[in-house]
C-alpha cells in the first residue's frame, strides 16, 4: 500500500511529468490560457493516461512478450493511445458538448502528447505490475493536471501584467514554467 502511494506521489509531484520529465510540454504551453479549459484537458488527459497505462501493461504482458515482438512496441502503443483518444473524443462530444467545443483542436492532439506515450513506455521499463501501472498512470495524470491548471492560473494574471512585446506568449510561459520547475524541485525530498 505504501509502495503504491509512493508511486502515485512520485508520478504526480516529485517526478512531475511536465516540470521534471519534460513530457507533455506542447499542451502545457498551447492550452494553458484559461483555468476552465486546462482543467478540462487535464481531466481528459488523466483519463486517457490511466487507460493507456492499463492497456500498455496488457499489451506488453499478453502480446509483445509472449509473441516476441519487441520491435512492434512503439507501433502498438501509439495505436492503442490514438484509439483511446478517439473513444474519449466521441464520448465527450456526446456527453459534454460545451467542453468538446472548448477543447476543440487540442483533443486529437492528446494523441501526440508525449506524456502519454512516455507513460506507456515507462511502465515496461520500470517493470510495474497491473495495480502499480494504474497508480502510476493516474498519478501522472494528476500531476499533469496540477501543472497545467497552476500555469493557467498564472497566465490569467499575466494578462494584466506589462510583459515586453517580444516576450509575450510562449516565451513568458516558458520562463514562468522555469520558475515553477524550481519550486517543484522542492518536492524532491518527499520520497
Amino acid at each position: 500500500m505504501i509502495e503504491l502511494f509512493l508511486i502515485f506521489i512520485g508520478a504526480a509531484l516529485v517526478n512531475n511529468f511536465i516540470l521534471a520529465r519534460f513530457l507533455g510540454i506542447c499542451p502545457f504551453i498551447g492550452v494553458s490560457r484559461q483555468i476552465d479549459t486546462s482543467l478540462g484537458l487535464g481531466i481528459a488527459t488523466t483519463f486517457v493516461m490511466t487507460l493507456s497505462g492499463i492497456l500498455a501493461w496488457f499489451m506488453q504482458e499478453f502480446i509483445l512478450v509472449p509473441f516476441n515482438l519487441p520491435f512492434m512496441q512503439y507501433v502498438f502503443f501509439i495505436l492503442a493511445i490514438s484509439s483511446i483518444v478517439q473513444f474519449v473524443e466521441m464520448a465527450l462530444r456526446k456527453m459534454f458538448p460545451t467542453l468538446y467545443e472548448a477543447l476543440g483542436i487540442f483533443l486529437p492532439l492528446i494523441t501526440t502528447n508525449c506524456a502519454i506515450l512516455g507513460l506507456a513506455l515507462l511502465i515496461p521499463l520500470n517493470e510495474y505490475g497491473l495495480i502499480q501501472s494504474v497508480f502510476f498512470g493516474f498519478g501522472a495524470g494528476v500531476g499533469f493536471t496540477l501543472a497545467i491548471v497552476l500555469m493557467a492560473g498564472i497566465r490569467e494574471r499575466l494578462l494584466f501584467a506589462d510583459v515586453p512585446k517580444p516576450l509575450q506568449g510562449a516565451s513568458i510561459t516558458l520562463i514562468t514554467a522555469g520558475v515553477m520547475a524550481m519550486a517543484f524541485s522542492g518536492f524532491l525530498g518527499l520520497i
Binding site: 504551453i29 498551447g30 507501433v75 515586453p164 516576450l167 516558458l174
Partner: protein, 221 residues
C-alpha cells in the same frame, strides 16, 4: 527550383519549428543539456521527418482521408523504431544517452504536423526539401540550446572545456528549470529579431501594430 529553395529555407528561419511554431518542445527541453545530445536528437528527428514524409507523400492518393492520422502515426512509428534499432546497433553509446527520448520522436508534433500540412499534399521532391529544412532548423535550434546550457552548466562545448577553471558552473542550467528559462529567453530574442525585421520591411505595418499596442495598453489600465 526557386520553389524548392523556399521550401528548404522556410523551416530554417522564418517558420522555425522551435522558435516560431513552438513545436517539439519536449526533446528541445529534455535532451539539450549538452550540445552533442541536442545534435544527435536533431539528426534522428530529421531522419524520421524526411523518410516518413517521403513515404506519406508517395502514398497520398492511396491513404483514405478518414484513416490518414492513424496511417501517418504507424508510418512515423515504424521509422522511429527503425532509427532506434539502428542507433542501438551501430551507435550504441549515443543510444544509451538519449534513452527514452528516441521513441518519443513519434509524438514530436513537428513530424505529424508536417505530414498533415505538407507531405500529404505535395510532391515527393518538394516534401524532401521541406522536411530537410524543418529538420535542419530543428537541429540547429537544439544545438544552440545545447551549447548555451553546456557552456553555462558544465563550462564546455561538445565536451571540450572552454571556460576558465575559475568559472563556477551554473548548475541550474542543467536542471529542468534552466531548460525552460533558456528556451523562454531565446524565444523572446527570436521574436525581437523577427519583429524588428518586420517593422523595417513595412512602415505601414508598424503603424498598425503600434496602434494595436496602444490599444492593448489602454485596455490594461
Amino acid at each position: 527550383m526557386v520553389r524548392m529553395w523556399t521550401d528548404l529555407l522556410r523551416g530554417l528561419w522564418g517558420e522555425h519549428p522551435i522558435f516560431r511554431l513552438v513545436l517539439g518542445m519536449c526533446p528541445a527541453l529534455a535532451v539539450t543539456n549538452t550540445a552533442i545530445n541536442g545534435m544527435t536528437m536533431g539528426l534522428a528527428t530529421t531522419f524520421v521527418l524526411v523518410t516518413s514524409g517521403t513515404i506519406i507523400s508517395l502514398l497520398k492518393h492511396f491513404i483514405p482521408q478518414r484513416v490518414r492520422i492513424p496511417s501517418y502515426i504507424v508510418i512515423i512509428a515504424t521509422f522511429v523504431t527503425a532509427a532506434d534499432y539502428t542507433l542501438n546497433a551501430f551507435w550504441h553509446d549515443i543510444h544509451g544517452v538519449l534513452g527514452l527520448f528516441v521513441p518519443l520522436i513519434i509524438v514530436n508534433c513537428l513530424i505529424l504536423g508536417r505530414a498533415e500540412a505538407f507531405s500529404s499534399k505535395n510532391t515527393v521532391k518538394r516534401t524532401i526539401f521541406d522536411s530537410l529544412g524543418y529538420g535542419i532548423g530543428f537541429t540547429w535550434g537544439l544545438v544552440l540550446l545545447g551549447v548555451i546550457r553546456e557552456v553555462l552548466g558544465f563550462g564546455s562545448i561538445f565536451g571540450m572545456q572552454v571556460m576558465p577553471d575559475t568559472f563556477y558552473n551554473w548548475t541550474i542550467m542543467v536542471l529542468p528549470s534552466g531548460a525552460f528559462l533558456t528556451l523562454g529567453v531565446l524565444l523572446g530574442l527570436y521574436n525581437m529579431l523577427i519583429q524588428r525585421a518586420e517593422s523595417k520591411n513595412k512602415v505601414l505595418h508598424t503603424v498598425k501594430t503600434a496602434s494595436e499596442g496602444a490599444f492593448t495598453d489602454e485596455s490594461v489600465y
